[in-house]
Symmetry: C2
Subunit: 354 residues, 2 copies
């Protein structure tokens, strides 16, 4: 009965050579180089359209004269409950933030649950209550959903997909194409908290003070920032792969160079200590309540002021700038005056962090 | 740093009593009674809003004067390749159909992949090509995506979430509230194909002729139907739980009774035979290219004619009607003149069918 065209696989060789890898690796999900390889070769060319090719946190398009943003993310974090949050809160905040990074006001979210048979109903209930509270905090409505159950051993407690729709108001234009040499790079506070909070549970590490995830909805902060200036060129949340990977993506997409100053990057001492124990670099650790803003030099001060008035922007600082040299590359000036190239995350540093 | 309100779990007891069940069961994902129990008690009251409460295949809301439909579904079908389709095609068609059932023209889709470490890249490639072709056939663009990888043994090859956005044109109003006594119930062809295609592979059954899934995008068919009549009151695709479960949902939501005629329900002989072997009832088997339309008696003929001109509506027939008696209940008239109540799916008849 199906009268559609069917696919002749014979004519389409897999675009990744067998010599690279023949199976999906855990590192393909880490947000770093292998993730980019997979997405860039396997997915994007097959669904070619200008929205997908932006490789933004979400797609922006017009419907009936309104610009909408649309974003999706699946959450597979392990463990599902971690210091400072849980998979439910993370799933709401994550998609709210992806929409906010498009310059959109997030409005409506969907939730798709994939539950492993045997999940304790009490755990599901905690996750639902946490999503309810997170949606309320972010001012979004969860309007549609789906629930699937997989047999024991074919999932891992619960995976949650959230997708979301937001409105991009007139006059707002957030895109890597707007990045210019001289733009200041701002972060809204301490980096590395989410990744370390999750890893510390997984590794059974205990610190003097508990390191809690920074998961938070950033749409309110972004609204204040856009109120202060329309010279915000790009917003991006440094989740999987951390600040280093996000900056590398933006250096690549803008075709410009990025310089960051080690001294100005806010990292708490306990996070530094945990990173030393775990052999990790805070620049590559996932954040779930942080954003990077690229702002014209002239407006950076105004934007910083606006950010510091908001609870989620109190720790906002300038960490670097965009330059017209070493194009496509991120360079860090160290505290003692040296410089080094900061590459994208390679390998599987932190699987299932979100 | 998180200044949001936090959840005090102590004050909120789980709304499902421990005497019912304490853990999620496979049957909670089958689309039948237990799925409704879970969604109705655990999810809907916590996210109370009129869009979610419609319990439609998607949410419909206005943004800037345009009515949009928004829908989500996660696909966990096992096996991922089955006669007549695969998880990729299913994921595109399924969300296209959910939007079409809202009376919307599907426009943009997202794709969220949860891949088990070790999936053969060649299999992923086949799935991607299949999604590409399905998106082309349905006339939708895949505009944003996400890829996660979970460790071996914590997933099952690949799960795909698709969410989608469509536009509901002016004058179209598809909702259970419009169902009236006297409405005719139409199906667009043979039922039970998808479920049997998947089950036959899983059970290692072989039939003389291969039973192939009916997976298909129904948006083109729906457009023709709405062109023929605006007296189409409800559209619904009888996927998990089959025709029986969908009709029960609509009897409940409309507060009216439904009568179907066994003789007029199109079931192929090979599907009947397979159902006998498997001990299943075709009325409860999942479909992925079928829709049920509730149409005013006066326009049913016109709608049937329009459907039969479309490749996916050639087998369209009237199978029953809405009545003002036995409210909330579905009754079937048998071939030999008896009547029996047709209940919603109970138990876990066909887990992981979509």
């Amino acid at each position: 009965m199906n009268e559609n065209e069917t696919v002749d696989f014979a004519g389409f060789a897999c675009p990744i050579p067998k010599s690279d890898y023949t199976n999906v690796l855990l590192a393909h999900g880490s947000g770093g180089k292998l993730t980019h390889d997979l997405i860039g070769k396997m997915f994007v060319p097959q669904f070619r359209n200008e929205m997908l090719e932006q490789l933004h946190d979400g797609a922006v398009f017009s419907v009936g004269g309104n610009r909408l943003a649309f974003s999706t993310d699946s959450y597979v974090v392990n463990p599902v409950f971690f210091p400072g949050g849980d998979i439910g809160e993370l799933a709401i905040n994550g998609t709210v933030n992806d929409l906010a990074m498009c310059g959109a006001r997030p409005l409506y979210l969907s939730a798709g649950f994939i539950i492993e048979e045997g999940l304790a109903l009490d755990d599901l209930w905690k996750i639902v209550l946490s999503m309810q509270q997170a949606a309320k905090n972010a001012g979004v409505l969860l309007v549609t959903g789906d629930t699937k159950v997989v047999d024991r051993g074919k999932g891992d407690k619960i995976f949650i997909n959230t997708s979301g729709i937001g409105v991009v108001d007139a006059g707002i234009d957030i895109s890597p194409g707007r990045i210019k040499a001289g733009d200041r790079i701002i972060v809204n506070g301490d980096i590395g908290l989410h990744g370390i909070a999750v890893m510390s549970v997984r590794q059974g590490l205990e610190f003097e003070t508990e390191i809690r995830s920074d998961t938070a909805p950033l749409n309110g902060l972004v609204a204040e920032m856009l109120e202060a200036s329309r010279e915000i060129h790009v917003l991006r949340d440094p989740t999987r792969g951390g600040v280093a990977t996000t900056l590398n993506e933006l250096a690549g997409q803008s075709g410009l160079g990025i310089v960051i100053n080690e001294e100005s990057i806010p990292v708490r001492d306990d996070v530094k200590g945990a990173c030393e124990i775990l052999g990790l670099d805070p620049l590559y650790i996932a954040n779930e309540g942080k954003l990077l803003a690229f702002v014209s030099a002239g407006d950076a001060g105004k934007v910083l002021q606006a950010m510091r008035r908001h609870p989620f922007g109190k720790g906002a600082v300038e960490i670097g700038e965009v330059v017209d040299s070493h194009k496509g590359t991120v360079v860090m000036k160290s505290k003692i005056g040296g410089t080094r190239v900061v590459d994208m995350l390679t390998g599987e540093q932190l699987p299932r962090i979100c």
